[in-house]
Symmetry: C2
Subunit: 279 residues, 2 copies
């Protein structure tokens, strides 16, 4: 999920004026993928998309995603951009054309033509994730595949007293993986809330960008502290201490990948780090 | 799905009085299974259950299911019975104990002690299936995994005019697979209806027993005739002709396995072939 920005990553720098830029909204069941990003070993979503585009175009087409997702993490609204030199296809016809070529665990939900210099990663102003949990009762396998199951039912008020602590701009070093190479660990969080939906416990978080495994590390910490805290006030104090410690050992275990969904991406006029403020 | 009744299949004939009989309700995601029944090659639900029971009991335990499901067919309420000589476990504790040992795509939803001679297959009075279809819009991969997708949106009134034709007792030879060895192809259908649920088209069928692949063959025929019929009356006439022909070549293609769920099983005082009639 880390957002390292490198100019050489941008295939649109050398874009030809005759090429159209297409933006796709994609959903995928991450269970059987090694993640979004193409890699030497393992099946990736990016590679499957590029294989389908290669068949359509008869030459290689590079796909840029809005955010990298880890192995086992799902997406309901991943956004990806690419350039096409096929003039004969209306932009929205990429939906059925690609879905015919893609495996069943990746579906293109929509496609549209966007401005030529659109960049799915650099232009994204807000990334929203949802983490789903099934609690209490033994879940059926259809729920279990897409949730983290806990026999214990946590207190929603205790969880929310902690969730609100991370709102705003903070240094998230406590929740940064050792492999995260981002220079700054500061990120701006505009939404952080737990709620119930159809008998599932959902954590929704949105921000300009995220550190690698930040969401799962936050969820794991919330769930661990919830068991220790006697009430919402105590939980809030504990969470604040953990956040301010910048000490990875104070964070809880990383929550399992199967519960996490990249929910949607927004492309608005927002200044990096300060959502809802026009440029 | 065929219900061949053989006395030697019944492991309860020689049951010891000290053994308790346990009835499980089980859900499974059939995508990665070769079906319910144990077989030489391929992963089966029955084998996974027997492996888990072997670990608990330290000896082989035979599991009897209420109905065989094919490769790729799911279950929300499969029922299975077995004998246990473990005296120390309350019947409902088999739920967490087995779920800890089972793979994530099989979940035990409930367990209870039943009369010693309970037989999951012979005692079932009603088997209910649901077939799920997503129509029109490109579905997300989470829906696609559990539905049959059709870009065409069929007419609900035309489908129901045909669904009602199969109600009651009929010879279903038209919908019998060549491999079905049942002596009689007569089955009693007590429910057969299409309805919409959460943007999905659902076909629900219930009966005393089913021929092998009968449900998928019926669904494939309904969908094929729906495209040909001009109105509900014409569709009803066409469906009646197909049913009465007893000619396999008149049936439509077998609908894909991924849309089919063994929904639930009822154990009531019903005479074989005549539901809702007390013995």
């Amino acid at each position: 999920m880390a957002e390292h920005i490198h100019a050489q990553d941008n295939p649109f720098c050398a874009s030809k004026p005759s090429l159209r830029t297409i933006r796709l909204v994609i959903a995928y069941d991450g269970s059987d993928f090694s993640g979004w990003q193409k890699q030497k070993n393992g099946r990736s979503v990016q590679e499957e998309l590029e294989k389908a585009l290669l068949i359509m175009h008869k030459h290689e087409v590079r796909v840029i995603g809005s955010a990298r997702t880890d192995a086992g993490v799902h997406a309901m609204g991943q956004v990806a951009g690419f350039h096409t030199d096929i003039a004969s296809i209306p932009a929205d016809h990429f939906v059925p054309a690609l879905n015919r070529l893609l495996p069943r665990d990746i579906r293109v939900l929509s496609s549209e033509e966007v401005k030529p210099d659109f960049h799915a990663r650099f232009d994204a102003s807000l990334r929203r994730y949802r983490y789903f949990m099934s609690c209490g009762m033994a879940p059926d396998p259809f729920v279990l595949r897409y949730t983290h199951f806990s026999p214990h039912y946590p207190s929603l008020s205790i969880l929310n007293s902690m969730a609100f602590v991370v709102l705003g701009e903070h240094d998230f070093s406590t929740f940064a993986s050792a492999q995260d190479k981002s220079e700054s660990k500061c990120r701006f969080i505009s939404e952080s809330v737990f709620f119930l939906e159809r008998a599932l416990l959902v954590y929704q978080i949105a921000g300009n960008a995220f550190l690698w495994r930040q969401v799962r590390s936050l969820v794991g910490t919330f769930l661990e502290l919830e068991k220790k805290a006697k009430n919402p006030c105590e939980a809030e104090v504990m969470m604040r201490e953990v956040l301010e410690s910048k000490d990875r050992s104070k964070a809880g275990p990383t929550a399992p990948a199967c519960g996490l969904f990249l929910w949607n991406i927004e492309y608005g006029e927002r200044v990096h780090g300060h959502p809802a403020k026009a440029v």
